[in-house]
Point group: C2
Chain length 141, copies 2
């Protein structure tokens, strides 16, 4: 049976364990040879995998996959999921740690991609610049 | 201004970042030369210190102290605080990860100390045995 989660529990847990990440990978299929891949992830030791499945059920999207060693990862990719589920949730229920800054940048990149800016060299550079300031304690509020 | 916290946010954040720890330290003042020191802690990078001060305000006890490097720690010690504030909170609002197992063991030790069992060799050994199974992924549910 999947455990039921409360919105504020989800925010607290993501403030602790969540990650908003912009991957930029080589991809020969793309015109600029680079693919932008935004993803929201939460990693846990496998003993707590039921929490990851509960997040998957709560958001109604994403997958639970093996990560490194004994760790598992709940991961959401795909614009439709990010735009209709993940982003609206964290707009409605703001994060309380500096992770809210990463979320704002992540959201900005997803919106830029929605306007197809990642397909131009200028847009891609803008996204790369945003990415460089994320998930780091060097770049503060 | 201290941010307001919601109980479920606190549970989610502690599920991610909290620690229930039983310290057993040498102390020549004690009859058995060992002092049992239960503590509840939450560690964060200093950029998120306002979250630690918010936890301090929320629980109405504990201190915020320097930890290692650029990290700070919210820490609650003292039986009165643990028995009247921390333990009742997590009894009322259960943790969802395996940390709830550590909390149950922590609670058991604090109750044993309340009965002054840590002052006898037998009681101290019982506490040491409980401590050895805590905060580890080797000892599962």
């Amino acid at each position: 049976m999947t455990m039921n989660l409360n919105a504020q529990w989800v925010v607290g847990f993501v403030d602790g364990e969540g990650c908003f990440h912009i991957g930029i990978n080589q991809n020969k299929e793309m015109k600029l040879k680079l693919q932008v891949l935004p993803e929201f992830t939460v990693v846990q030791h496998e003993v707590d995998q039921q929490v990851l499945y509960a997040l998957k059920a709560y958001f109604g999207c994403g997958v639970v996959r093996k990560n490194h060693g004994t760790r598992l990862c709940y991961r959401v990719r795909g614009h439709e999921n990010l735009l209709s589920k993940i982003i609206p949730f964290f707009e409605k229920h703001p994060l309380k740690t500096r992770k809210h800054v990463d979320f704002e940048k992540f959201r900005k990149v997803v919106f830029l991609m929605e306007k197809r800016e990642h397909l131009s060299a200028d847009g891609l550079e803008k996204i790369q610049q945003i990415k460089e300031t994320m998930n780091s304690t060097t770049f503060l509020r």
